[in-house]
Amino acid sequence: PERSEAADPDKLNIAVILSAGIESAWDGTLIEALERAKVAKPHGLDITWKYTDPLWGDDAGDAMRLFAESGEYDVIWAHSTYSDQVKKLREEFPDILFVVVGSGNEGLGGNQYWVYKRVHEPAYLLGYAAGKLTKSNKLGAVGTFQADDVNDEINAFFAGAKAANPAVQRTVAFIESWYDPAKAGEYTKAQIATGADLIFQLTGNFKPCEEAKILCFGNFQDQKSFSPSTVLSSAVAQWDPDVSWIVDEWWAHKAEGKPYAGNTDKHWFPMKDGGSAVVPNAELQANVPADVQAELDDLKSKIMAGGFEVPVDVSDPKAK
Amino acid sequence: MSTALRVEGLTKRFAGVTANDDVDFDLRRGEIHCLFGENGAGKSTLSSCIFGFYRPDKGEILLHDQPVHIASPMDAIRHGIGMVHQHFVLVPEFTVLENIIVGTQRSGWRLNAAEARQKLKGICDGYGIDLDLDAYVWELPVGRQQWVEILKVLYLDAQILILDEPTAVLTPGESRVLFDIVRKMCARGMSIILITHKLVEVMQSDRVTVLRKGKVVATLDRPETTPDELARLMVGRDVFFTVTKPELAPGETILAVEGLSARGFWGDAVLKDVSFSVARHQILGIAGVAGNGQKELFEVLCGVRRPAAGSIIFKGEEVAGMSPRAMMDRGVGHIPDDRFREGLVPEFSVAENVVLGWQRNPKYCKGPLMDRDAITGLAREMIGEYQIATRDEHVAAGKLSGGNAQKIIIAREFLHASGLVLANQPTRGLDVGVIEYVQTQLLKKRAEGFAIVLASEELSDLFNLADLIAVMFKGEIMGIVDPRTVTVAEVGVMMAGRRGETAASKKRVSA
């Protein structure tokens, strides 16, 4: 707090501990948000960062310690379940702002901030569109592992579908693997065979939809580039408000001497605050009838205005 | 006669052993030249060097007085040298035909079996060999497998033939056929190097070269030598070919087998209703061509195979179906026929092998640990007592020659057995010196009051040692006879499946 009175900081250096790899949607979207922050220069800061490969457990702890001990990093952004490791470090480095992200973390408060990401609102909108567009009244969703912040999306997707079309049936599958496109493909194909004609694809394999010539929805990141002919729309995570929240908190601490006060409960930015978004694929717009699009627009503006709240349901999604 | 092949100053060393030491040797065209020597004298090594399978460290090989460079079996084959190895080099999963043609075809994609079949037919007819070319080798009895080896060589048009102990696995009848064929080959101008431990066979050759410890001791014309001289040259001392068996009155019955049957892997009957008994001071010989149930009989008796029916009374106790452990604990010693597979752990040292099976015996343990001192002490004792030729007790048993390996087994079994010794083919492949030794040991146990069941394909073993001979054929006992009252020929007939007289045994059992 004393130093900050001397001169406002003009540089912010962030160390990022990746959990899955830059090529994954989860980690890739964060780096994209950081890129945007760099351009935006909040508080006039030059934002720079360095990231690691995917690291887990004590390896991640060691990396954080190395970053912390180097004295070069102001924020250590550990991009998944890392509160066990942060717990061992945060008191030793009270000036560093630690970030942990998503489910499985413990809200420690103090200089640990807990960024949460919910993309259930866009998923609800996708589901609503799916409910309107389905001809077989059957929708599928393929996920990797069950988790709080995966279940919420799948449940919201089906809730949206149900709201649009009470006759909708659902089918859900988990492949229990982070990276097995072939296996993901088989699950998707199986859903298509059971009659699903729109798929909420959380495992990133759009080939089966291409082959069956059906539409599907991307998740977490705008995935139309992977399959321009099938990805009708994606539910996208945007870390910009999270990044700017953290930058602000750090700034307030560094420049204004405000003590860190990390959240102990999940904290997420809803769609209206830019925490998530629906990114449609303009080229496939013709598939969405104007009246459906109008309903969707209406629903979206209700959500954005706070007039409609998409419920968070994290129970195990099951086929119904 | 011209010289077909000459070896000059050949030396071959393996890590640690000089197997051939400056060997000179020559083979004349059309002769049968016998290589004779103790186990481990270097006979097989010399052959393998001639065949290009091993690379000699020194020395020269001349064919028809021209130095030749034989760097691999390929060269040897090109020069018309063929070799039948001491241990089969066959693929059991292949048919006879496949075994013969594998690796001989040099062009074309498809297997060209028809042509090969034609050529083999010619060879078989020419020599009077009768072999089903489409049988799997694993289906053939060992004796027949030897013919496959010989056909392999003939198929490659060998002119010089090396036969390394071809008769070790043949019955006397088969051996005779082999010798007829070998003589036919010589008549056609082929030259033969023959390795054998059987003096009868040595005496059918033209010349004999005796090897001892890798060196040539002498090369003799056969008509000018005698078996006794050869044996003396080979061992370096006199060898007695007939051990003297004292007359001993049999004591109480130790082992009584009644109606014993057993089944093979495919459920086939391998032992059918076998009955006999052996008493103290008695050796029961089992005669029969290998593969007629002897192995299965021994396996059942020592507990490694479960009988399907019948009873085995050992010292008054029913032991049929008991585990090998239980049999060992009751005092049954077993000398199996496959010494390196069933009798020893070749990678274990001599000392470790001496306690194989008794490693948990408190005598050799100190608390939870094995007692090294006790074990090496015992091993040294055994090495001394049984004259096991080894550098020391730490040498791996697999490094010893067959005869010395056999001595380890005998030492161990004799030490731990009390009452009964089962010995299956204890002299197979051994040199005459060791055979004499094994026979003496068996008689010693007999004198000590053991009952002994001894199977051997060498009828001489049985006639020398046994008090009674049971003849086996296809898993059945054809008869139990007294060696003093039957001839070798009579036993031979029974081995071929004719039922014989069992009066001798009946007389004794009822007595």
Binding site: D58, D84, G102, E106, G107, A147 | M328, R341
Partner: protein
């Protein structure tokens, strides 16, 4: 002509020289790999050294990383020496952690002198159960142990996944489950050896286990039978050894060692049940055991070497700016040079005049 001639007896100096050459060659090959991506080779190696042996803390990390590898390596030694090709160490590690976790639920509240041996025993018992299943499948049903252990590995991983997600052990409540159990109470943390260091008491166990294994293998009847089984099971069967029983004992002992690795990871390192710090320990252990020449003492050294590389990996990534995946690549490269060295050590190079 230069030829390689087999040596009669190993020559200690030449053996050492061979292995030093292997390390140098391995490092040289790794340097080429590093340079190929434009990173600074000395920096990377410096970081590696610093992270593996550069400080007491780094050394502690090396030991902590080596501990489970030595145990799974020993598990491999015991099974492979008997020519039992168990690939089940991976699943057994998981089972060890799961059994330990169950034990921690049941034994909570016991004094540490009872609690820790108790929970470790629970873990080992769980592993032994798996080993026993594979042994029965082999002896009674003639199912090849490679098949059964590979399959059991999958089953255990899915079982853990269910226990943590959908089953009874998932973390519930405030911080919703993410494939992990709740944190164990502090009382269930294996005590640290030197104050606050991460060096937990569990790292002593592998060394103890290695000493016991060495003694068992070389001096006890069981070790004799294990070695004999590997060389010639038929002879052992003929000489009264109950093969099925011995195989069971070996597979269960091997599994217990692997399971202990999982248990000390749980109580010493992660303090909650989750899969990601257990993945790969079993497979790595197979390699560690084999690099160690299937000898318990060799396995300790191989485990320490792999532990050092693993602990240096993070430093290499953070300070040396190369992907952390360089470490498995380096491990693979060094392994191959080590294998070559092992062969080289058994030969001498001689000049020879070809025989004519």
């Amino acid at each position: 002509m230069i030829v390689f001639e087999r040596r009669m007896e190993a020559n200690a100096l030449w053996t050492l020289a061979s292995f030093i050459m292997a390390i140098v060659a391995g490092l040289a090959a790794s340097a080429i790999l590093i340079a190929s991506t434009g990173a600074n080779v000395p920096d990377v190696f410096g970081a590696l050294l610093q992270g593996s042996v550069g400080s007491p803390k780094a050394l502690a990390t090396t030991l902590v990383k080596a501990a489970p590898l030595i145990l799974t390596g020993l598990a491999t030694v015991i099974a492979f020496r008997a020519q039992i090709w168990s690939i089940g160490q991976e699943g057994q590690v998981f089972a060890g952690a799961m059994g330990g976790y169950l034990g921690a639920q049941l034994l909570a509240g016991l004094p540490p002198v009872l609690f820790f041996p108790g929970v470790l025993a629970f873990g080992m018992a769980a592993g032994m159960g798996l080993g026993w299943i594979a042994a029965v499948l082999r002896s009674r049903f003639a199912v090849n142990e490679i098949i059964s252990t590979v399959m059991l590995n999958y089953l255990v991983v899915y079982l853990l996944s269910w226990l943590l997600q959908g089953g009874p052990w998932g973390e519930t409540g405030g911080t919703v489950a993410y494939h992990q159990s709740p944190m164990l109470p502090d009382a269930a943390f294996l005590p640290a050896l030197f104050g606050s260091s991460r060096l937990h008491a569990g790292v002593l166990l592998p060394f103890l286990a290695a000493a016991i294994c060495a003694l068992v293998m070389s001096r006890t009847p069981l070790g004799y039978e294990i070695r004999g089984l590997g060389y010639n099971p038929e002879a052992l069967r003929h000489k009264g050894v109950d093969i099925a029983r011995t195989v069971s004992v070996i597979m269960m002992a091997s599994a217990a060692l692997a399971a202990l690795a999982g248990a000390i990871e749980l109580f010493g390192v992660s303090h909650r049940l989750r899969a990601d710090n257990l993945i790969g320990l079993g497979y790595a252990g197979i390699i560690v055991g084999m690099i160690g020449g299937l000898s318990p003492i060799g396995t300790v050294f191989a485990g320490l070497f792999f532990g050092g590389l693993a602990s240096g990996a993070v430093y290499m990534r953070v300070l040396g700016d190369v992907p952390a995946s360089l470490v498995p690549a380096m491990q693979g490269i060094t392994l191959f040079f080590f294998l070559c060295a092992g062969v080289l050590a058994r030969y001498r190079i001689v000049m020879k005049v070809a025989v004519q």
